[in-house]
């Protein structure tokens, strides 16, 4: 016994906070067992990066609906009681700032940025039932998980960590797919009519229906079987998230096989969602990213992460002395703040200028706090991320038809409600940002006439 004790004493001290202990079995092993750091690292960074562009590119054009006609219902009654009536400016501001926080989180992994993303993004969808996408709620759950995952940097990629919040995300996804399949046990789904109405004539169902017909299978039987297939696929994906993400799964052949099958099913399901054109935003992209991170072999992910993080690791090494200076943090924070103020003005959307000012202030405050904590490197990294976010936000919104769509949707809505002068003003703005061949000149002429000669 004494020799054993001596051996224990001689064992090297556990490496820093992120090193995982040997796990026991059952609950302990499942939640507190080791996870390859590359998995939560890629999931967190990937989702946050996607989210930043989702906010700026996909959600922004619909801001004109918010607060229109003075009517709104939030997702939760308490939010209706506490929060102000949303407006297009408030919504645009929240999206810009949430995008900044998400981008900074993706670049730096800073917990403060992740928590800010969680708060702003969740408020963004919860403020109104106009946003009914279920995956926005799912992304809030992801962000909650990211806020609880240990902070990971590129240097941690080869490690194993305890990350119960990462496991929680796997189980969350299993719950999502279990209930998604549960909804398909209803009579209407089982009959095949629902899937038929969504997929009839679309790839690969058009061809499959033809083959089935040739084999003497009636259309109704075909759609019933296809519906059963979708339900089965969802159950397999759920089983994959539940069973194949456990620490011991990588060492057991049957779980490795199930992981591959679940990955294939997830890819088939979400690629098909895109083929069917179901208008669910970037839901499929997020789910495909999650499937890659949870199911692909660790070695593949490590290689991908190595390539993706190479520029930042290289830059960090090359500019190591420069990045650690307090003066650098001050200068980069000032530059990033200036970039945000300019971006707010350049975006020419309601609420953008204020959001730009808030972003500049937030960058300055973060850099000041980093300096106060004697961590100029953190201040510089976040300021650099903030400056890059300002540039990318402006590029995303100005190069794409975001502003054109925002102003034409707004104009159309105001016209329907009889507010012709305001509608004309919105369409004039839309015309300013119209991509080639999408001019609204005819509409403008018609509105000008109607404004000049109002109907009795």
């Amino acid at each position: 016994v004494s020799a054993k004790k001596r051996r224990r004493k001689a064992r090297p001290a556990p490496t820093p906070s992120t090193e995982a202990p040997r796990a026991g079995s059952g609950w302990e092993s499942y939640w507190h067992g080791p996870v390859a750091a590359v998995r939560p690292y890629l999931l967190l960074r990937g989702v946050l990066l996607l989210l930043a562009f989702d906010l700026w590119y996909l959600m922004m054009p619909h801001a004109g609906r918010y607060g229109a006609s003075g009517f709104n219902v939030a997702h939760f009654a308490w939010l209706d009681a506490m929060a102000p009536m949303p407006s297009d400016g408030l919504y645009v501001g929240v999206l810009i700032l949430a995008g900044l926080a998400a981008f900074a989180g993706a670049m730096t992994g800073e917990r403060a940025a992740i928590v800010a993303t969680l708060g702003l993004y969740t408020y963004g969808w919860a403020m109104s039932l106009l946003d009914g996408f279920q995956h926005h709620y799912l992304l809030s759950l992801f962000l909650l998980g990211f806020a609880l995952v240990p902070a990971l940097r590129a240097g941690d990629l080869g490690r194993r960590v305890t990350a119960w919040a990462y496991r929680l995300l796997a189980v969350t996804l299993a719950i999502v797919y279990v209930f998604a399949s549960a909804s398909k046990f209803e009579a209407r789904w089982q009959g095949g009519g629902v899937l038929g109405s969504l997929a009839r004539g679309k790839a690969p169902f058009g061809a499959l229906e033809g083959i089935a017909s040739g084999a003497g299978i009636s259309p109704s039987t075909f759609w019933t079987l296809a519906s059963l297939g979708v339900t089965t696929i969802e159950i397999v994906v759920a089983a994959g998230y539940l069973l194949c993400t456990r620490p011991e799964a990588e060492h057991r052949v049957r779980f490795r096989r199930l992981g591959w099958v679940a990955f294939a099913c997830a890819v088939a399901l979400h690629v098909e969602v895109e083929v069917l054109g179901l208008h669910v935003g970037w839901f499929s992209v997020y789910m495909l990213l999650a499937a890659c991170v949870f199911f692909l072999p660790e070695a593949w992910l490590a290689r991908a992460a190595g390539v993706l993080t190479w520029p930042s690791r290289r830059a960090s090494t090359a500019a190591s002395g420069w990045i650690d200076r307090p003066a650098t943090a001050v200068v980069t924070a000032l530059a990033a703040g200036g970039a945000w103020v300019a971006a707010g003005v350049a975006l020419d959307m309601p609420g953008a200028s204020r959001a730009g000012a808030v972003a500049a202030l937030a960058t300055a405050v973060f850099a000041a706090l980093a300096l106060a904590r004697q961590k100029p490197r953190d201040g510089t990294r976040c300021a650099l991320a903030s400056g890059a976010a300002a540039a990318l936000c402006v590029i995303t919104i100005t190069v794409s038809p975001v502003r054109f769509d925002f102003y034409r949707y707004l104009g159309g809505d105001l016209e329907r409600r009889g507010e012709l002068a305001a509608s004309l003003a919105a369409y004039e703005k839309a015309e300013q940002y119209a991509p080639p061949s999408r001019s609204r000149r005819k509409k403008l002429d018609e509105l000008r006439q109607r404004v000049a000669q109002p109907r009795p």
Binding site: E19, G132, I175, S183
Partner: protein
């Protein structure tokens, strides 16, 4: 379980983490189950993970009319002119909180005695579903 031992991640102690896990999972399972248990309206599919739901594919039309005290005759409300189009879609989907808020807003006009919301839907195969009608007497707390 090693209770009360600090987590090696430097996060909350493991026992607190376990409590968080259990609480979180309970909520995540309870929310969709509440839908299937009928605790939420069938048209309120939020938080129930009903991907490609049949309910969502119904084609519905809504009509809201108000009865003014002075005349007593019902008058159809021009929805397009009074709310943003996206809210009309929510009314068509029968989102209960939106319907309730819309009827309450219509009742805010002191001249209105009664508001009627009616929703008629067809399933994807064209079958008509039972109509949904709500009559709200204004000035009476529902």
């Amino acid at each position: 379980l090693r209770r009360g031992r600090p987590s090696p991640t430097g996060g909350p102690p493991r026992r607190a983490a376990d409590l968080c896990i259990v609480g979180y999972l309970a909520i995540q399972v309870a929310l969709p189950l509440a839908y299937y248990a009928g605790l939420r309206a069938p048209t309120d599919e939020r938080f129930a993970w009903r991907m490609f739901s049949a309910v969502r594919l119904d084609r519905c039309e809504v009509e809201v009319s108000e009865k003014v005290r002075a005349s007593g005759t019902p008058r159809k409300l021009p929805l397009q002119q009074i709310v943003q189009e996206a809210w009309i879609h929510e009314l068509e989907r029968g989102q209960p909180r939106v319907v309730d808020r819309f009827l309450r807003r219509a009742c805010e006009d002191a001249r209105v005695e009664e508001v009627t919301f009616s929703r008629r839907c067809h399933a994807t195969d064209g079958t008509a579903e039972p109509p949904d009608e709500i009559v709200r007497a204004c000035g009476v707390t529902p």
